[in-house]
Symmetry: C2
């Protein structure tokens, strides 16, 4: 019998949990609340309890489980040590050791955005490629770089911080990270809204954006209705993102670029705005890169977490 | 007895060859001319003859050699297949298979700039780090990205093209690659000279650069003599290179950034010009990256080529 895998995606509000078979089919998923009190010290015990409960329900012993993969916000190095996750109240400690001590099952851990990228490679929009850039356009801009099928973790666990590459010298507002001119300030849902509000203020043009909510969603709805002002906002968004992806691709030489997150619900139209500056500026070997939409939505994290275990099932876990 | 390694660095004019022991000590080095006639078809046979000659001289059999590492210009994938190397007249073929058929000794091959980066990690300015950005400021800007001790080859063998990241939208001159505004246009020896000539033309300032040759070397000599115009050129160079490295580091999260090539002979003063924009724009986790100068000079390629073999000596080569 092939062993089972748990994939755990720890977010600021809920912990998403997935129960997978050894081939990566998601058999069941559920959520528990993220209890952040007492410096987040209840989070991993809660995860352990929930896994124990599921194992009891399925009448499984520790030996039936290949491992537990965990994604969490913050820099997490290759040994499963998190180096401060402010969202959760966590300082520096080993997620791997803590959870292994609670469950006596092998654990692997990684940064949530990187792990979600791995999920999209395995079962989502990046299937079939092993060198990818995955960029997630949500409230912020997250991402993950996959090289030869493995997450680029970086020397200190901070690899793949696509949202904080510098793309604009003249920005006056600060990004959440403290710098000015980060990609996240233009390509996240929040950033697109900011660009739209600025343009509405500066321009006299009529626009359907003047008649209601301004958001990334209404901007791209406007684009589909050929609203001129919405299209200008989309062009600005696409220039920053296309430029940024061109720089990263020139260095990484990926096979596929996957775009996910809430903004990606706008669909293929995004590529119409990203590709022109991407293709103009990228090193020629990368002009024909495949662009794809993410397909796993909020499940990318649990899939990727399970993949951390799947990767190590054959040889590394004893 | 530990086996020996040959490291081969194929350039447009000469092929550099190194004879190493199994620990990576360079025992002997020499050069042969690169014969580019007949689509470069003589190059690998010449390399094979030279290696055979050295083996005869040392009374070594094929079984005494762990392998032959090769660096060559052009995209070379993980299987040792080169995908057009215009400098050498080469089309697409397997360097690995061709040379193995000539010598019956295991061969590994990689892009010359990437391989040189590996050399600097192993025995040069990047020793002790396994996540590095190595950037070579010569006639052009070359580079290599090392992740977990391995070269980032990329999906098509074009990884690490640091010289062709886009850093300037308003450039009117074309780069050798066909794009406009590549880092190479500002940070190579040629690029620095171009910046200096432009500044000399636009400015009325007196400068020692007006009294003789204008080159990257005379610019940085001027900087050391506090020549104001030379310092302005260095600032512009440093801004582009610092900005570019900040973007790459935000994605890679390296431990060390190594600067090599002819321009790096200017020494530590380079960092005074690169660091300000690097530190201003890089994601905070990377602000304390180590900057180092390359130390192997023109031998980086043969060292890195030997490292390709050293990496695979234990397990992969049978």
């Amino acid at each position: 019998m092939s062993k089972y895998i748990f994939g755990v995606d720890i977010g600021g509000t809920t912990v998403k949990m997935g129960f997978f078979d050894g081939e990566g089919s998601l058999l069941e998923k559920w959520e528990i609340p993220t209890r952040k009190e007492e410096d987040g010290s209840k989070i991993l015990p809660d995860v352990a309890e929930s896994i124990k409960g599921k194992m009891a329900e399925k009448q499984l012993a520790a030996g039936d489980i290949a491992g537990i993969g965990v994604g969490a916000p913050g820099p997490i190095d290759g040994d499963g040590v998190v180096h401060r996750a402010v969202n959760l109240g966590w300082g520096t400690f080993s997620i791997k050791e803590t959870l292994e001590n609670l469950l006596h099952i092998p654990v692997m851990a990684g940064n949530d955005a990187n792990v979600a990228a791995l999920g999209e490679m395995w079962k989502g929009g990046g299937q079939g490629s092993s060198d990818l850039i995955v960029v997630t356009l949500g409230t912020g801009v997250g991402g993950g770089i996959i090289i030869g099928g493995k997450v680029l973790t970086g020397a200190g666990g901070a690899g793949g911080e696509i949202g904080h590459i510098h793309v604009q010298d003249s920005e006056e507002q600060s990004c959440g990270c403290g710098n000015k001119g980060c990609l996240e300030q233009y390509a996240s849902a929040t950033g697109i809204k900011r660009l739209a509000l600025k343009k509405l203020k500066e321009s006299d043009k009529g626009s359907i954006l003047r008649n209601g909510d301004v958001s990334a969603k209404t901007v791209f709805n406007g684009v589909k209705m050929k609203d001129e002002l919405a299209m200008e906002v989309a062009e600005e968004f696409g220039k920053y993102l296309g430029d940024g992806l061109a720089v990263i691709a020139s260095v990484i030489n990926p096979e596929t670029i996957v775009i996910g997150g809430g903004v990606s619900k706008a669909g293929e139209v995004l590529f119409d705005y990203i590709k022109p500056s991407y293709e103009r500026n990228v090193f020629h070997a990368n002009k024909d890169v495949k662009f794809a939409l993410a397909t796993l939505g909020n499940d990318a994290g649990i899939y990727g977490a399970a993949k951390l275990i799947s990767d190590t099932m054959v040889s590394d876990i004893k």
